[in-house]
């Protein structure tokens, strides 16, 4: 009895909000007011963060590697685009949910293929599904607009009140609210018994099965959920840019997403968000300096990150804040990162 109550207590303790999380969201919101001229890139980051969050759900919690997550992003993007072009559902929020559900349905159907294999098989299967969808949307260019993209997407105001403006203000806050709501849901889910059982499966599927966790059903569940999230991210993309073209399915999109999680780390939900911020900022920074060779510098930074390791980089990044804190609070107040805690 005491063991299970222990588990419950620890789980609850983990589920509590840490102060740094509150700071993070406050900072994010503050960005919205501090940098009114940068709404577009920030919207881009928010979309990428949501997309990365979606991959983190399956990769970080359930251990499913995917190189084709853009499949669901693309389905969401085209669903939202087609709904808007044909005037089926003009209300963005509703269209967003419908697009997410469409992606979830495809996610559910393809999950049976994905759970059959292990890592390498899964990489291939997910990659294949994304390529398949890309080829299909190219083939049916009368519906999707092919390489030229879906033309004539016009979005109705959000909730009938907030028109998408040229500064991207509405788009940013709309995307941020969607991200926050979905983050809350994801946070609730990963701390639920369902989320804990996913971790058990990730650690050892055989043992998880032995203690009575229905492994396949759980994996199908989380894969469908992740597809829903990716679909929403895709729909956000279409709604905020009013564009949808073939590259929503592109391999680069899936691969970039992996990089985002490599930078940010997996299995704690914030990895995708932080990774998205860092990745896009690096891209923006380097492509401003050298529009021609920015990819080289991104590559270099990624290699450094992987070789040196995140934990040690954090220590360097924190050197200045630590130094300042030391000046004010003495030696004891240092917020050193212990080596063993690399996640």
């Amino acid at each position: 009895m005491s063991a299970s109550s222990d588990v419950g207590r620890i789980a609850r303790a983990h589920a509590n909000w840490h102060w740094s999380e509150i700071v993070f969201w406050c900072l994010t919101l503050a960005c919205g007011f501090l940098f009114p001229s940068r709404y577009l890139i920030m919207t881009d980051i928010v979309r990428l963060a949501l997309f990365a969050l979606s991959l983190d759900l399956i990769l970080g919690y359930a251990g499913i590697v995917s190189l084709g997550h853009a499949a669901f992003f693309g389905i969401g993007a085209y669903s939202a685009g087609l709904l808007a072009v044909h005037g089926v559902i003009t209300q963005p929020v509703l269209a967003l949910i419908v697009a997410g559900l469409v992606a979830a349905v495809i996610g559910f159907l393809t999950s049976f293929l994905v759970i059959r294999g292990v890592d390498l098989t899964r990489l291939m299967v997910t990659l294949g599904i994304a390529l398949l969808l890309e080829a299909l949307s190219e083939r049916f260019s009368n519906i999707t607009g092919g390489t030229d993209g879906l033309q004539g997407i016009e979005m109705a105001p959000v909730l009938g009140a907030f028109q998408f403006d040229i500064f991207g203000r509405t788009g940013f806050f709309y995307a941020l609210i969607v991200l926050f709501v979905l983050f809350l849901i994801a946070r609730r889910i990963v701390h639920s018994p369902f989320g804990l059982s996913l971790r058990a499966i990730k650690n050892n599927p055989l043992r998880a099965a032995a203690i009575g966790v229905p492994v396949n059903r759980r994996l199908i569940g989380v894969y469908t959920l992740a597809a829903f999230y990716a679909g929403i991210a895709g729909a956000l993309f279409t709604q905020t840019t009013q564009l949808a073209s073939l590259d929503v399915f592109s391999f680069e999109r899936s691969a970039d997403l992996m990089l985002v999680l490599v930078i940010g780390g997996t299995g704690y939900l914030y990895g995708g968000l932080i990774g998205a911020v860092v990745f896009r900022m690096l891209q923006e920074f380097f492509s401003n300096i050298t529009p021609e060779y920015w990819q080289f510098w991104i590559g270099l930074v990624l290699v450094v990150i992987v070789l040196v390791g995140r934990a040690r980089l954090h220590r360097w990044v924190l050197f200045v804040p630590n130094w300042i804190i030391r000046q004010f609070g003495g030696q004891k107040a240092t917020v050193a990162v212990s080596e063993g805690e690399a996640s």
């Binding site: 740094s20 993070f24 501090l34 920030m42 881009d44 040229i166 073939l246 914030y270 860092v278 990044v317």
Partner: protein, 391 residues
């Protein structure tokens, strides 16, 4: 938990510092946002345009009508959503007076609503789909349309005894334009299309398509691939032995782009194309342009470079005409009807459609001083975009 909480803070700090670069007030400066693909599939287009813009400014100075010209170069990596975001940021943050560039049609489309909304002229220096200029009253084009060259090569083919043609076009708007206009004129003249293939824009592996072409045994293949893919096409055309089977290549001149022509090998000899520019165009203006370009960038300019060069000329000339007034409506009004001598020959902007009117030349690939060139042998004067004259 420690690592994570600090990571959160660190991310916040990075974000804050990177975002904090604010806009600069623009007074006596006219800013041009140049959005072109510098990486990705169409990188060669972007590089040529960027070079040409630099060259034009070197030759003509960076002040016009008392205003300093500032060009802000952005790479859209050949992705239309990037183009749109960059255009939007340039307009909103940098307060650019003009947006220019646009390597592919989808990019030009993506930026069109912004041009209309912000009343900022969009100077299209590359993309060649007919309908682009109809997407916004603020779009002006200094490149070409596929209709211009495709109709003319079709008429030429009919006249020169080519009866059966297989077509290979890139499956996106300009490719479909090229196919449509070619087919109209070619079949109207009694020609027959025996095989029609469309290749994906993003995956230019032509080998399987070429085999089908070869089996169809046409007199010629009509080819449109975007600038930058011509070299690859010609290589595979030779590898599959189509040149030896006596199947000629005809098409708009994108396939024998000067940018890559030099390295295409002898298989390309005798290819006949209709196009707006050849580096071998025999005019003093062009000789001077080619020499300056070669000197500055160690390579031959292609038609994309000329599009960029003329785009800059258009902007300069319009500013001179308005006396430095740089608002969208004045600039567009000034651009309409402008005519000048470009390296490609005489050109003008149609005041009705804001599209370019120019000569189209029929050229054959020949060796000049040991190097491959498109040698012009027939000229069609002042060709308008057929996509609009029909209406």
């Amino acid at each position: 938990m420690f690592v994570r909480s600090h990571l959160l803070l660190a991310a916040g700090v990075v974000a804050a510092s990177a975002l904090a670069s604010g806009p600069v007030p623009a007074q006596e400066v006219v800013k041009i946002g140049l959005i072109v693909p510098m990486t990705g599939g169409q990188a060669s287009t972007g590089k040529q345009i960027d070079n040409a813009v630099k060259l034009y400014m070197q030759q003509n100075g960076d002040t016009v009508a008392g205003k300093k010209i500032e060009v802000i170069l952005k790479d859209d990596a050949t992705l239309p959503d990037n183009t749109k975001r960059l255009a939007q940021e340039l307009i909103v943050n940098e307060k650019v007076n003009i947006i220019a560039g646009f390597g592919i049609t989808p990019s030009a489309f993506a930026a069109a609503p912004l041009a209309t909304q912000a009343k900022v002229p969009e100077v299209v220096m590359a993309a060649g789909t007919s309908v682009i200029t109809e997407k916004s009253p603020y779009i002006v084009r200094t490149s070409f349309t596929l209709g211009q060259s495709s109709t003319i090569i079709a008429d030429w083919a009919v006249k020169n005894g080519i009866k059966k043609v297989a077509t290979l076009t890139s499956d996106y708007a300009p490719g479909n334009d090229a196919l449509k206009f070619f087919k109209e004129h070619f079949t109207a003249g009694g020609g027959q299309i025996v095989e029609e293939v469309k290749t994906p824009l993003a995956n230019p592996d032509f080998a399987p398509f070429l085999q089908r072409m070869k089996d169809a045994k046409p007199d010629a293949v009509f080819v449109f691939v975007p600038a930058g893919q011509g070299g690859n096409f010609m290589k595979q055309y030779a590898e599959r032995g189509l040149d030896k089977a006596g199947i000629k290549v005809i098409g708009p001149g994108d396939v024998t782009d000067d940018d890559q022509l030099k390295d295409m090998g002898d298989a390309v000899l005798g290819t006949v194309t209709a196009h707006i520019y050849s580096a071998a165009h025999p005019s003093a203006k062009n000789k001077e342009f080619v020499a300056a370009y070669k000197k500055a960038f160690k390579q031959r300019p292609g038609f994309m470079a000329v599009g960029g060069y003329d785009g800059m000329h258009l902007i300069y000339a319009a500013l001179k005409k308005t006396g430095g007034k740089a608002d969208g409506d004045s600039l567009i009004a000034a651009m309409k009807g402008l005519a000048w001598e470009s390296p490609r020959g005489p050109i003008s902007i149609d005041p009705e459609t804001r599209d370019i009117i120019q000569n189209v030349y029929i050229r054959k690939v020949e060796k000049v001083d040991g190097e491959l060139y498109n040698v012009e042998f027939e000229t069609f004067k002042d060709v308008k975009d057929p996509g609009k004259t029909k209406k």
